[in-house]
């Protein structure tokens, strides 16, 4: 099916913009629930060892404390194969900041106070927590994130480097960086013990992955878990995977059936529990012949992983497809440490890897005396150096040329550290960047057509379409863009219904709403309606949604003319990685 772009690519107001500006768009923590309990964790103060005793008596004695959960009394998980998710299952401590208990109380301040009163005694082992590339524990992972080869090599790069006219050999290091979106990771969890149903209002970039993980961790049926995330306040990749916080909140909810449990990580906890980008040590060597043609690239990376759960940032993969060379080697080695998990953060692999690779290219430009743009142009591959397949899109040379023109590149002083301005050296340089397009086949949407008898058919409108899909809008406007895609797929124009119906449709196309999670096979699961019917926790009645929009929602109205049968499917745009 080909879609004609009418709305796509045009500038549209954010669908949820007015709600966000008015502060009424509900983020995970803000969903109204009755008499919630608040969760505050106790975190380990050692990096490695085991808990020998937990004394929660002082915490439990505090007014308003309802329960203290520990590894001694928490619900047993059905699947403990993932050590990050095996929260409160054993006395083992694997990193400083690990959850070792959780306090449930009638108020967040009480929970926090009580958490300070939980006394944990440890048997401490020696730990290693800083990255050392000479560590004896250095190892090669089976693959690097998500499933790339750990090492690859073509030709004989060492021989080519030895024979090269020009060489650059450098080590680049990058620091550990933490994902810290404005909205921390938050959950409202409620467990209906009788019905065996779990409801999670969750700040997540992936409702389906969250549902699937929780389902298997707790041994629940696929229909037993609803994950709801209409708005997400940023994630930078850290909300793409389930982390221990979601498990802790669910364990807590199961300890108090029928009551909603609220948990928002503190900013301090964000640094411990939800992933970060590993620091990297990158050895890069480039060889070139007299005219600057690359004869060899080597990119050997050392980085860290949590000892208990491997994450191998694909740092060197950038060098596999960026520039043409007959001899190439890229490798990844990990040092396992007694630290929290490394995980996805904002272009894992490309962000640190392209930094090293591109700085090395600029250094080669200096060594060869070539313009760094010209150097890159001379090494532009005709096909992907890794796969041998043509690029779906690239345009790097045209991009560099255009950039050079706009920056008046030809007038620059090509010397590094060309001038000193108030104590700071200034100079010019070039960096390319590249990011792969990932498509995730199997995503589906459900579209319904709702006839509205109050509309005037003479004006061409007889109802509205409703689109449901399990996508996430982390604040980047996905809801609006997906609506545009859906509108074009349905062959209607957004805004066509402006000012028409007296009784406006409550909503237009609803992209990105996930009241009902979609399984990968496209079957809808979870409750049929909104929060009122979710789970057993008593939920306050949602506010009436009759409020008039001064300007009607532009999307979703007047779609009745489109000759598309209700229930037809459109495929969402290819989804990129985190």
């Amino acid at each position: 099916m080909s879609i004609t772009a009418r709305s796509m690519g045009t500038s549209q107001p954010r669908i949820e913009g007015p709600q966000k500006v008015a502060g009424t768009a509900p983020y995970a923590f803000e969903h109204p629930v009755v008499r919630p309990l608040y969760l505050h964790p106790v975190q380990s103060t050692i990096a490695r060892g085991r808990i020998t005793a937990i004394d929660a008596s002082a915490a439990e004695a505090l007014d308003g404390v309802v329960a203290v959960i520990t590894h001694e009394n928490a619900v047993r998980l059905a699947d403990t194969s993932d050590a990050e998710w095996s929260v409160l299952q054993t006395p083992e401590v694997r990193f400083r900041g690990q959850y070792v208990a959780g306090v449930l109380a009638e108020g967040s301040e009480i929970a926090r106070q009580a958490a300070e009163l939980v006394a944990v005694t440890y048997d401490q082992d020696t730990h290693v927590a800083s990255l050392d590339e000479h560590s004896p524990d250095l190892y090669a992972p089976d693959v690097v994130n998500p499933a790339f080869a750990t090492d690859e090599s073509i030709g004989d790069p060492d021989a080519a480097l030895a024979a090269a006219e020009y060489t650059v050999r450098q080590t680049y290091t990058t620091a550990m960086t933490h994902n810290n979106p404005m909205e921390p990771h938050t959950t409202i969890a409620s467990w209906d013990a009788e019905g065996g149903r779990l409801t999670l209002f969750e700040s997540t970039q992936g409702v389906v992955t969250t549902r699937d993980a929780v389902t298997s961790l707790f041994g629940l049926g696929a229909d037993a878990v609803a994950v709801i995330a209409p708005h997400v306040g940023g994630g930078f990749g850290s909300k793409g995977n389930v982390h221990a916080n979601t498990v802790l909140a669910t364990l807590a909810a199961m300890a108090v059936p029928g009551r909603a449990v609220k948990y928002a990580l503190t900013r301090q906890q964000m640094f411990d529990l939800v992933g970060y980008r590993t620091p990297t040590i990158q050895h890069v060597a480039l060889g070139a012949d007299t005219d600057g043609t690359l004869t060899a690239i080597t990119h050997d990376v050392v980085e860290q992983t949590a000892r208990f759960k491997e994450f191998a940032e694909q740092t060197a993969t950038y060098s596999r497809s960026m520039y043409a060379t007959p001899n190439r080697r890229t490798t990844h080695r990990l040092v396992p440490l007694d630290v929290g998990i490394a995980s996805w953060m904002r272009a894992p692999g490309e962000a640190p890897g392209s930094f090293a690779a591109e700085v090395a290219m600029d250094e080669l430009a200096v060594v060869t005396g070539l313009d760094p743009i010209e150097l890159r142009v001379r090494n532009e591959p005709t096909v992907s150096p890794e796969s041998g397949l043509p690029f779906s899109s690239r345009n790097l040379v045209a991009c560099l040329r255009r950039g050079a023109e706009r920056f008046a590149w030809s007038h620059r002083d090509p010397q590094p550290r060309a001038r000193l301005v108030d104590g700071w050296w200034h100079g010019t340089g070039v960096a390319s960047s590249s990011y792969p397009v990932f498509s995730m086949p199997g995503s589906t949407a459900v579209i319904r057509f709702h006839r509205d008898p109050s509309l005037d058919p003479a004006l061409g409108a007889t109802g509205r379409y409703e689109v449901e899909l399990a996508a996430a809008d982390i604040g980047t406007g996905a809801r609006t863009v997906l609506t545009q895609i859906a509108a074009d797929a349905l062959g209607r124009r957004p805004g066509a219904a402006r000012g028409q119906p007296r009784r406006r449709p409550r909503r237009g196309l609803r992209a990105g709403r996930r009241r009902r999670a979609l399984r990968r096979d496209g079957r809808l699961v979870g409750p049929r309606r909104g929060p009122r019917r979710l789970g057993a926790a008593p939920l306050r009645e949602p506010r009436p949604r009759r409020r008039r929009h001064r300007h009607p929602p532009r999307s979703g109205l007047g779609a009745a003319r489109a000759a598309v049968a209700p229930g037809c499917e459109v495929r969402p745009a290819p989804r990129r990685g985190p």
Binding site: R112, Q113, E116, S130, T266, D422
Partner: protein
């Protein structure tokens, strides 16, 4: 975090009486530091007495001597953002305006008060984390930064390991206080025994035998205002802050400096100079030795650098596998040199104005 009582009283004297009566009571103003400390369990007040509205939030001209222009009286409740924007501060004390604007964020500056800024506490990572020992939190504990992560820590003024002294290498975090130290500010205080004035040079204390105390304030004493004496030299002043991030970070090293230059034909000469350093000590560090070394000397980079190095002759940086702070000695020298070089440039010259680094 412990439960506490929140109290409002009618006037400053009432607030002083309330806090004096209870050894665990504290004053609450903007709350940008104290509220964090309550959450983190660093502060445990029984009662918070809100002083909002009880001290002046105005900046007033002080009468001068013999028809000269006087200085400024800054009410303790004046917000950092208002102080930075005040026309006389911008014109006559630019180092103070620059220091304020390089601290915190717009939102925090809108909340934080002048009095509270003076009393903010160190951002030492160990001090702020109750799971690590800290002698500033408890005299029963030792300093974790010694041998730990000491990048932001003191290189001068920390107590030796002598009998009775406890080593604390925390640094005072306030940018504003560094500028005020350079300006010889005077802190007006109301206490149970009445009013007193404390020169800022005597307001802060070195860790000595009690690192838990940052200032000489006694329990129940409330800052009501800060006076800036007239200081013609300060019209040519600046604040230069060096930090790991360009924004929203505390100083590794900062310099507040004011310079008066004579311009004989053979090159500019330092007529008078004032220098205060941030990020190097338990308190804003007034660099008297450097000032003395520079007066009457040619205003050259070499002399600026030598003066800064003289100031740090007794510096005692910390070596640590997790990140020491010996780098601060050359960093101070470079930062002082750059700040004074900027101030030496002839304002009447049209070229050679230094560009700001982003």
């Amino acid at each position: 975090m412990r439960p506490f009582t929140y109290a409002r009283v009618d006037d400053a004297a009432g607030a002083v009486a309330s806090v004096t009566a209870d050894p665990d009571a504290m004053f609450l103003a903007g709350g940008t530091n104290l509220v964090d400390h309550l959450k983190l369990g660093i502060a445990a007040a029984s009662t918070l007495v809100d002083v909002t509205g009880l001290t002046s939030d105005r900046i007033e001209d002080l009468p001068g001597d013999d028809g000269q222009e006087g200085g400024l009286r800054i009410g303790a409740a004046v917000r950092n953002s208002d102080l930075a924007a005040h026309p006389r501060v911008r014109a006559e004390y630019p180092a103070l305006a620059e220091a304020l604007l390089q601290g915190a964020s717009g939102q925090l500056r809108n909340m934080a008060t002048t009095g509270g800024n003076l009393l903010q506490r160190t951002r030492c990572a160990y001090f702020q984390d109750r799971t690590t020992p800290c002698t500033k939190r408890s005299l029963d504990e030792s300093c974790s930064a010694l041998g730990g992560w000491a990048r932001y820590h003191a290189i001068v003024g920390a107590a030796e390991d002598d009998e009775g002294l406890r080593r604390c290498i925390a640094t005072h975090p306030s940018d504003m206080a560094v500028a005020m130290s350079m300006l010889d500010a005077r802190v007006q205080v109301l206490g149970p025994e009445g009013e007193r004035t404390i020169p800022i040079g005597e307001f802060y204390r070195l860790p000595g035998d009690d690192p838990t105390r940052d200032t000489v304030l006694r329990h129940g004493e409330l800052i009501t205002a800060v006076d800036l004496p007239p200081a013609p030299i300060a019209t040519n002043s600046t604040y230069y802050k060096v930090r790991d991030r360009a924004s929203y970070a505390f100083a590794l090293v900062s310099v507040a400096a004011a310079l008066e230059v004579d311009r004989p034909p053979d090159g500019p000469v330092v007529a008078d100079v004032r220098i205060a350093l941030g990020g190097v000590a338990h308190l804003p560090w007034r660099a008297f030795r450097a000032e003395e070394a520079l007066r009457g000397r040619p205003a050259t980079d070499e002399n600026f650098r030598a003066a800064a190095e003289a100031e740090l002759e007794r510096a005692r940086p910390v070596e640590s596998p997790a990140g020491g702070n010996a780098f601060k000695i050359p960093l101070v020298a470079g930062t002082v040199t750059t700040a004074l070089r900027r101030l030496t440039q002839d304002p009447s010259a049209t070229d050679g104005v230094p560009g700001e680094s982003a």
